[in-house]
């Protein structure tokens, strides 16, 4: 067969295409937009002279922030890796009673934004303030990022590896350690890196626990001096930390070649009976679910019923809900439009430039919301004042932050549309626009819908960028909640939190169905 020739990169280059590669131009433009925050941080920190930068960076306060941030990232990612892997193992591989229910509950904490979780714990006991409490609460909020991918890998794992190890003379524990755990490593590390990126970006949960990190300090500096050099330089350090994690992730992705070797379908394995360990496993899972889900929902319920400041201002609640839904829908449309050319180019074309374009859209979204917001505020105020304090600027920030959610879904969908289908349609007399309308779009509609749903639900719980960028008078569920909770009006905050949880629940469900963290980052 000469199919080998036509699938070679060179053959792809010789494919007949329009003279102006519209898709590539649009993809490069989108990539440039997503790189604005990174560019801003580089330019602005370079602009602050070395003396000023030194004075602002080499302070006891910055040392404390660094210690807090790095300590939190190390402790929480480790805790998430252990808790998430153990929980996934028990739910997927053992015969623990009620496995489908536990599997759904494993992902359920994703429906509770970390800052709502934090609010619940703080209003229950002030003892959670500080490092230990921050590690506890962020672990409870973020362990699903490890548990879900590990569960997915465990589900798809062919028992043949473990059986081969046993046949080669290893005991059951050694077989798992040497033949199974290495296969889980990419999922565990990938999930842990994702947790790390979220921790670097976390603002609401840590501010409420009075645990200062770079993100909360940038917010405070912004409140005090707007986008001055203090905020910018702290942002530069934070970006540096993010890049360290990103490089780790890239190296991981490069090495993860653990696909099944050989042909034939993987067999399913029967779950391992737990025997006398059953009560222990049940108790562990129950404790996890009570702490991660029971506490925030219970406390929220209590505040809704009996808080002294509890009120149900229907007009404000309705307005905030409508604003939130409107922003979320707008952002879903915008990210879809931006993701289309990038995903198209990434799937159908090859080359170094294309890879850079695709990567850059992921880097932009890996930066904390506070950095993206700070960058857009400064760029808008200095360069394009008309868009400052507009909904458009807020939507752009959302798009930069959440683009990969649509991209990943769209990319996967487009990869299912082989170029041969285009050829077939063209040879049947259909023009390129007709091919798009009659073949490509119908086939990617599902992926587009899933990606949009994820963006929609991310916007609903976005706090940091919204606080900085929402035009005056634009109140979302998250900012209304934050205003009340920050003023210790816990009861008044409760209805907004409850609405956010309700709107987020479908996202958590979607994540259990897909089970892969790529939907999150």
């Amino acid at each position: 067969m000469s199919a080998g020739l036509t699938t070679a990169p060179a053959a792809a280059a010789a494919r007949v295409r329009p003279r102006v590669p519209f898709g590539s131009v649009a993809a490069v433009a989108v990539a440039a937009l997503t790189l604005v925050p990174l560019g801003f941080v580089l330019v602005a920190s370079a602009g602050a002279g070395p003396a000023e930068a030194g004075a602002l960076l080499f302070r006891a306060r910055v040392g404390e922030l660094l210690l807090n941030t790095v300590g939190l990232v190390l402790a929480t990612t480790t805790a998430c890796a252990v808790v998430g892997t153990a929980a996934a193992w028990v739910v997927v591989r053992t015969a623990v009673p009620g496995r489908p229910v536990w599997l759904a509950l494993l992902a359920a904490p994703l429906a509770v934004p970390a800052f709502v979780n934090s609010y619940a714990w703080v209003s229950l006991t002030p003892a959670v303030e500080g490092f230990a409490g921050a590690v506890l609460i962020t672990t409870l909020s973020y362990y699903p990022f490890v548990a879900l991918p590990v569960a997915a890998v465990l589900r798809g794992l062919d028992p043949v590896h473990e059986e081969s190890a046993r046949a080669l003379g290893l005991g059951p524990v050694a077989a798992v350690r040497r033949a199974v755990l290495p296969l889980l490593r990419p999922a565990v590390l990938g999930g842990a890196l994702l947790v790390g990126l979220h921790l670097l970006a976390e603002f609401g949960a840590l501010q409420m626990l009075r645990f200062p990190t770079f993100t909360t300090a940038i917010y405070d500096a912004y409140e005090a001096t707007f986008a001055g050099p203090a905020a910018t330089l702290l942002a530069a350090v934070l970006v540096l930390l993010c890049l360290v994690l990103l490089v780790g992730e890239l190296r991981l992705a490069g090495r993860a070649r653990l696909a099944r070797v050989g042909s034939g379908a993987a067999r399913l394995r029967p779950p391992r009976p737990l025997g006398r360990a059953t009560p222990l496993a049940l108790a562990g899972l129950a404790a996890l679910v009570v702490l991660a889900l029971g506490v925030p929902l219970g406390v929220l319920g209590r505040w809704l019923v009996e808080g002294s400041s509890t009120a149900f201002p229907l007009v404000e609640l309705g307005a905030a809900t409508l604003t939130t839904l409107g922003l979320a829908a707008g952002c879903a449309v915008l990210t879809t439009l931006l993701a289309l050319p990038v995903a198209w180019v990434a799937v159908r074309r090859r080359g170094r430039l294309i890879r850079i374009v695709e990567r850059s859209s992921f880097i932009g979204s890996s930066l904390p919301g506070i950095v993206v917001a700070l960058a857009l505020v400064t760029v808008a105020v200095r360069g394009l004042p008309v868009i400052y304090q507009t909904t458009a600027l807020l939507l752009v920030a959302y798009a930069i932050l959440f683009l990969p959610r649509t991209m990943v879904a769209l990319r996967a969908a487009l990869a299912q549309v082989p170029p041969e289908l285009d050829d077939a349609a063209r040879s049947l007399g259909v023009r390129p626009a007709g091919v798009l309308a009659r073949v490509t779009l119908p086939l990617v509609a599902r992926g587009l819908g899933a990606g949009s749903a994820l963006v929609f639900l991310a916007v609903v719980t976005e706090l940091t960028a919204t606080l900085l960028l929402a035009p005056i008078g634009t109140d979302t569920l998250a900012t209304e909640f934050w205003g009340h909770a920050d003023a210790v009006a816990y009861g008044a905050a409760a209805p907004y939190a409850a609405l956010m949880v309700l709107l987020s629940a479908p996202a958590a469900y979607l994540l259990t169905r897909r089970g892969i963290p790529e939907a999150v980052s």
Binding site: A424, L428, P442, L443
Partner: protein, 364 residues
């Protein structure tokens, strides 16, 4: 739809005509000065090994690739300036490439004008043409077998009444058992429709059995275009001889239309020049009889070195030695094909007789 290839281009050449086409991917030349004429209403096979450029040629004709130089004409009209959708050239790929979101009926009707798409009659006719029942019309592509998918792909390609249908290894992905019946169904549908067709394949048996004309490609060049029987009997060179079937190539000396070789004096087809030459004998031309039978003196004797049994027939590897030749010259091994039930035992001696003419070939 029948005969649409004959109607156009009054007075000019009809059918598909490829002239002086060259193409390259980057610095790599994949097609060198390719010429090919496909007569209207016929099925021509392009036969070649992997990477010989045959799929590239097909994709250039379809309009998915541009050649560096050369021309492609349909019924005398050049088509290289046209986008694929305006060439009226049907295309069936190796996987069929059915649209997964559409039913069988909607796939078949995809290239029809909107008004014809809605009436099911045309779709039903096309399904019947490729040997599929109307009950399949509402199925999704993934509910069909591979062979059914290829038949639907052909029905879809024939629907807009193309001037030529191009088939890119359409049977290669099918199981051996499905391949035969699907091939038969597709070829008879093409014949019924009277459509000019170009089939690309690396399977010599497929090319020889279905096509009226076979073009052999090698390293980007068309090395021979001939009807199947002529291609098999009189290949252009030794490589083609070996590519289209098993070949016994023997050094020989030609004198007055007879070749002196290790198999004795053999009658040569055509009018060969006198002198040293390489002759081609097909294994099935070798007739084996037990050596104890006795025979004409000088008839070569061979020892059976190995046999491979296929059921209907068997191949026998022989080492030649002459009864008279006792000075122990190394003589060539040759391959013979016998009916399966008549394969001689390994180690036994057989008398070898050659049935029919042999051919001289170049470049051994």
């Amino acid at each position: 739809m029948s005969g649409s290839g004959v109607v156009g281009g009054v007075g000019g050449p009809t059918g598909l005509s490829v002239a002086a086409v060259s193409a390259s991917f980057g610095a790599v030349r994949v097609l060198h000065d390719v010429h090919l004429e496909v007569p209207p209403g016929s099925l021509t096979a392009v036969l070649g090994p992997s990477g010989c450029g045959k799929t590239t040629l097909l994709r250039i004709i379809a309009g998915f690739l541009r050649p560096d130089t050369g021309s492609v004409a349909l019924d005398g009209h050049p088509v290289l300036g046209l986008p694929p959708e305006r060439r009226r050239i049907g295309y069936v790929s190796q996987e069929g490439s059915l649209f997964p979101h559409l039913s069988v009926a909607d796939n078949v009707g995809f290239g029809l004008p909107r008004r014809l798409r809605r009436t099911r009659r045309r779709v039903g006719e096309l399904l019947e043409l490729v040997g599929l029942g109307p009950d399949l019309a509402d199925r999704a592509p993934h509910q069909l077998s591979g062979g059914q998918q290829q038949r639907v792909a052909l029905a879809r390609a024939l629907a807009p009444e193309p001037r030529v249908v191009l088939l890119d290894e359409p049977f290669a992905a099918l199981d051996a058992s499905l391949r035969e019946t699907t091939r038969h169904g597709v070829v008879s549908a093409l014949a019924t429709a009277g459509t000019t067709a170009l089939l690309v394949t690396h399977d010599q048996a497929e090319a020889l059995s279905v096509a009226g004309q076979v073009a052999v490609m090698r390293e980007g060049r068309v090395v021979q275009v001939a009807p199947p029987a002529e291609l098999y009997r009189r290949p252009a060179d030794a490589a083609v001889a070996g590519f289209v079937g098993d070949a016994v190539l023997l050094p020989a000396t030609v004198r007055a239309g007879r070749a002196e070789s290790a198999l004795g004096p053999l009658p040569v087809a055509g009018r060969p020049e006198d002198g040293p030459a390489t002759v081609l004998v097909r294994p099935e031309q070798l007739v084996l009889r037990p050596a104890t039978d006795g025979g004409a003196t000088g008839e070569p004797i061979a020892r059976v070195v190995a046999t491979t049994f296929y059921g209907h027939d068997a191949t026998v590897r022989l080492r030649l030695h002459h009864e008279a030749d006792s000075n122990g010259h190394a003589l060539p091994t040759v391959l013979a094909r016998t009916p399966g039930h008549a394969a001689p035992a390994v180690g036994s001696d057989v008398r070898v007789e050659v049935d029919g003419n042999v051919t001289t070939v170049d470049g051994h």
